[in-house]
């Protein structure tokens, strides 16, 4: 009985997850306010979600591209956020 309950809970969780993905993913849009954000703004807002904001001088221009990709895998940044932050850090 308990086995069935756990399985049922798991399937409910997976189904809820799928529905959320479909609903949320289907309505993805970016507001003007978000689109207008600069790389410096996004750098200040997103990096400190996990760690202190890095200094642009810490890595070279090529290195920042690589680090931007690595950070995207960790923090699930959007592509636009990654590109703007990396452009700011490469200056």
């Amino acid at each position: 009985m308990k086995n069935i309950r756990i399985k049922f809970t798991a399937w409910i969780m997976i189904a809820a997850f799928g529905v959320m993905l479909a609903v949320v993913g289907g309505s993805c849009a970016e507001s003007e306010k978000i689109r207008a954000k600069t790389g410096a703004q996004l750098w200040a807002e997103n990096c400190q979600r996990c760690h202190n904001t890095p200094s642009p001088s810490s890595f070279s221009r090529d290195q920042w591209i690589t680090i931007g990709m690595h950070m995207q895998t960790r923090a699930q940044l959007t592509d636009e956020e990654r590109d703007k932050i990396v452009a700011f850090l490469r200056q």
């Binding site: 290195q63 990709m69 690595h70 960790r74 959007t78």
Partner: protein
């Protein structure tokens, strides 16, 4: 009248001389330093030869070391307490050297490999390849940290963590071999992200504990793990996450062929500056369940069963006066963390564990920190009565001095 004419003629002569000298000056270039010309030529040649290329390999990573002094008081039920004092440099929470190789090919492919020397053992934290297939779609494969909760994947590094030790029990479900997809998308003024993986999964031990199976799977079932997060505020200061895991955990053809594990959890991340203080709150709660099975007692190999359910919780707050006028004061950070870890009652590893950590950090740079953490832990043993440990209380006081740097 004659005098005026003479002056005019003289001025005209001077003007002519000036024009002639100017014309000569324009025709004859000034002498140039020949070594400067050679340097300019070399620089032009160097610039012409530079070609960035598509591949880029770099090494980053981190190192953490420190010192831990521990006082342990053990009290058996109805008995006298025993005290023990130890101190060490080589504690798992205070020593780590992990160089990380990041190898990029263009802007679509990325390989991440991080070997780690931790607590005297050489291991690998992750070794995987990512393909950025489309906006919001990162396909990855290899050995990676499972997308469950917020701590293991993002906050565990010594130069990120605000207190010296890791929260006990939060390392489940750990890392595994498999494939996954992840990405982030805007949603009006909000943002959401997903991270899902399909991996070999966990293995159920005869005493009821779970452990990572590693490279060779113990059954044909695969384990699904995922995390969905919403950042409801436009400046990304708040992140709310929900995680889940489900998979078969018994050996194929073994007594636990129908055993499966379910995990679910919630996490919260809030970071915002209320001038002059940066407030940083992080929290995670998770539960792990294994369906009902007959387990084997390690003492006499007889069968027994229990409600195989574990719960992990941590909540932490840290405050940093980033707006302080003093350059020294603004580098200090005060942190507090509460941890609770409950393993199944009446199992052979049952305990109810509490921990409070109070830390004072000093940031030498954005990625270099000195930490001083004092930890109080209290653990009540809730294991099976036949284990001989039921009711034992263990209290520990720990002082950590830790240095951590990201390189």
């Amino acid at each position: 009248m004659r005098k005026t004419g003479r002056i005019t003629r003289s001025l005209a002569a001077i003007f002519c001389c000036f024009l002639v000298s100017l014309a000569r000056a324009q025709q004859t270039p000034p002498p140039v330093d020949s070594s400067l010309l050679l340097r300019i030529e070399a620089l032009e040649q160097h610039a012409a030869e530079y070609k960035p290329g598509e591949s880029h390999l770099m090494v980053v990573g981190l190192t953490t070391f420190g010192f831990t002094a521990t006082t342990t008081k053990t009290t058996p039920p109805g008995g006298l307490s025993q005290k023990q004092k130890t101190n060490t440099f080589g504690d798992g929470d205070t020593y780590e050297l992990s160089p990380m190789l990041l190898w990029r090919h263009g802007t679509k492919w990325l390989v991440e490999f991080e070997p780690s020397f931790t607590g005297g053992n050489l291991s690998v934290n992750w070794a995987n390849i990512h393909y950025f297939a489309a906006p919001g779609l990162d396909i990855h494969a290899g050995y990676f940290v499972l997308p469950f909760g917020i701590y293991s994947k993002r906050l565990a590094a010594g130069w990120i963590d605000k207190v010296a030790p890791d929260p006990t029990g939060i390392d489940q479900p750990g890392s595994d071999f498999g494939i996954g997809i992840s990405g982030g998308f805007p949603l009006g003024t909000m943002k959401w992200s997903y991270d899902i993986s399909l991996t070999n999964g966990l293995q159920l031990q005869p005493d009821g504990e779970l452990q990572g199976i590693g490279l060779v799977d113990n059954n044909p079932n695969k384990t699904v793990t995922g995390r969905l997060a919403l950042l409801p505020i436009s400046n990304s200061c708040l992140e709310l996450g929900v995680s889940g895991l489900y998979g078969g955990v018994g050996d194929a053809g073994g007594p636990y062929v129908n055993a499966n594990a379910t995990m679910y959890g919630f996490d919260l991340n809030f970071v915002k500056t209320f001038q002059p203080v940066l407030v940083n709150i992080k929290s995670q709660w998770s539960r792990m369940l294994v369906n009902s099975q007959q387990f084997i007692k390690p003492t006499d190999s007889s069968n027994y069963t229990f409600d195989n359910r574990s719960t992990q919780t941590f909540a932490q707050i840290s405050l940093r006066p980033v707006g302080a006028s003093s350059p020294v004061l603004k580098n200090f950070e005060l942190a507090f963390r509460y941890v609770n870890y409950q393993t199944p009652m009446s199992s052979f590893w049952g305990q109810n564990y509490h921990e409070e950590d109070l830390g004072l950090d000093y940031w030498l740079s954005w990625r270099t920190v000195l930490k001083c953490t004092y930890a109080w832990t209290h653990s009540a043993n809730t294991s099976d009565l036949t284990s001989g440990q039921n009711g034992v209380i263990t209290d520990m006081n720990k002082l950590y001095l830790q240095f951590s740097i990201q390189l």
